[in-house]
């Protein structure tokens, strides 16, 4: 699997994603500046990392969604390629119209940085196929605009079509939903896919739960492992 990590001015999780992918030995990782017109090597996976692109000016992700590279990201997704947006990357994908909804300021109006528990709601996606259905995983969150919002009718369509992939949950009971949203997300939504299932956006950070010795555990590995399984092990590995 060849990965491309897009670097926007203000991205701060780009290196973490690169390190995670290299640690998991998923294959070559290209760091791609946002002002490039295209990818130098055709990627299998494009990652829009977390951070504060353009200082979160105007709206989180709004300015980055107009970056030059986004044309190539759209083309990649349109041809069925995988796109993963983490945190600010998720915000960029909604602003780009590649995923529905918007990420509003947290209900507490505070920046939240802590561990979060998520229930895997769909394990039939390329991003989650190595997780058990309904498995509870621990990924950290760190955001100020993470309240997932979508008008009611579209929200019920999103739910009915099974496109909610991660939902905030209670670790011990395994229950998931709005009551467990640290940020007020509707229906406890932490991550969703597009209709085709090849674009995933999530607020929590799997790359901060990948390397050994970090305080957040290693559940994030499941996501990279899923992608590897989806593509089959990289030939050059």
């Amino acid at each position: 699997m060849r990965s491309a990590v897009v670097v926007f001015p203000g991205s701060n999780c780009d290196r973490d994603v690169e390190k995670s992918l290299l640690y998991m030995e998923t294959g070559p990782v290209d760091m791609v500046w946002h002002d490039e017109a295209d990818f130098r090597h055709a990627p299998d996976l494009v990652v829009l990392p977390g951070g504060f692109s353009y200082g979160d000016y105007l709206r989180s992700g709004a300015l980055a969604s107009k970056s030059r590279i986004m044309g190539a990201v759209r083309a990649h997704a349109a041809s069925g390629g995988l796109v993963l947006g983490i945190c600010n990357g998720f915000q960029i994908l909604t602003e780009a119209g590649m995923l529905p909804g918007a990420l509003l300021p947290n209900a507490s109006l505070r920046f939240i940085c802590r561990q979060a528990y998520l229930r895997v709601e769909q394990n039939d996606t390329p991003f989650t196929c190595s997780f058990k259905d309904g498995e509870i995983v621990q990924f950290p969150i760190a955001h100020h605009e993470g309240l997932y919002y979508l008008p009611e009718e579209e929200l019920s369509q999103l739910e009915q079509s099974g496109r909610v992939v991660f939902r905030y949950a209670d670790r011990s009971s395994g229950e998931a939903g709005e009551a467990y949203s640290p940020n007020g997300s509707l229906h406890g939504i932490a991550g969703i896919v597009n209709e085709r299932g090849n674009v995933l956006g999530l607020m929590p950070h799997p790359e901060r739960a990948t390397l050994q010795g970090l305080i957040w555990g290693t559940d994030g590995r499941g996501l990279w492992r899923s992608l590897e399984e989806h593509f089959g092990a990289w030939e050059g590995k």
């Binding site: 105007l58 709004a62 107009k66 918007a102 509003l104 919002y149 007020g184």
Partner: protein
């Protein structure tokens, strides 16, 4: 070509939770200003627009508003145009 000044006001749409507005409203009420209600906190953007006439300026403002300045899923906007001397 003329130059216009456009003042664009952006507010959270009715029905979209405006947490900042709520927090401000609560604080106002707690300070004895309960008669000042329905607080909505938004953005104000001022731009200069080069355009042939007012209709052209209006078209240019609505185009950039809908393309970038406003997220129409959660925000509504209004604008006022004034021809610059």
């Amino acid at each position: 070509m003329n130059t216009f000044r456009a003042d664009i006001t952006i507010l959270p749409k009715d029905g979209v939770l405006d947490i900042q507005g709520k927090a401000v409203e609560k604080t106002l009420a707690a300070h004895g200003y309960a008669a000042v209600r329905e607080v909505r906190v938004g953005k104000f953007i001022r731009v200069a627009v080069d355009a042939a006439d007012e209709a052209d300026a209006a078209l240019k403002v609505t185009t950039v508003a809908e393309d970038l300045l406003v997220n129409d899923l959660v925000e509504s906007y209004a604008y006022a145009l004034e021809k610059k001397p």
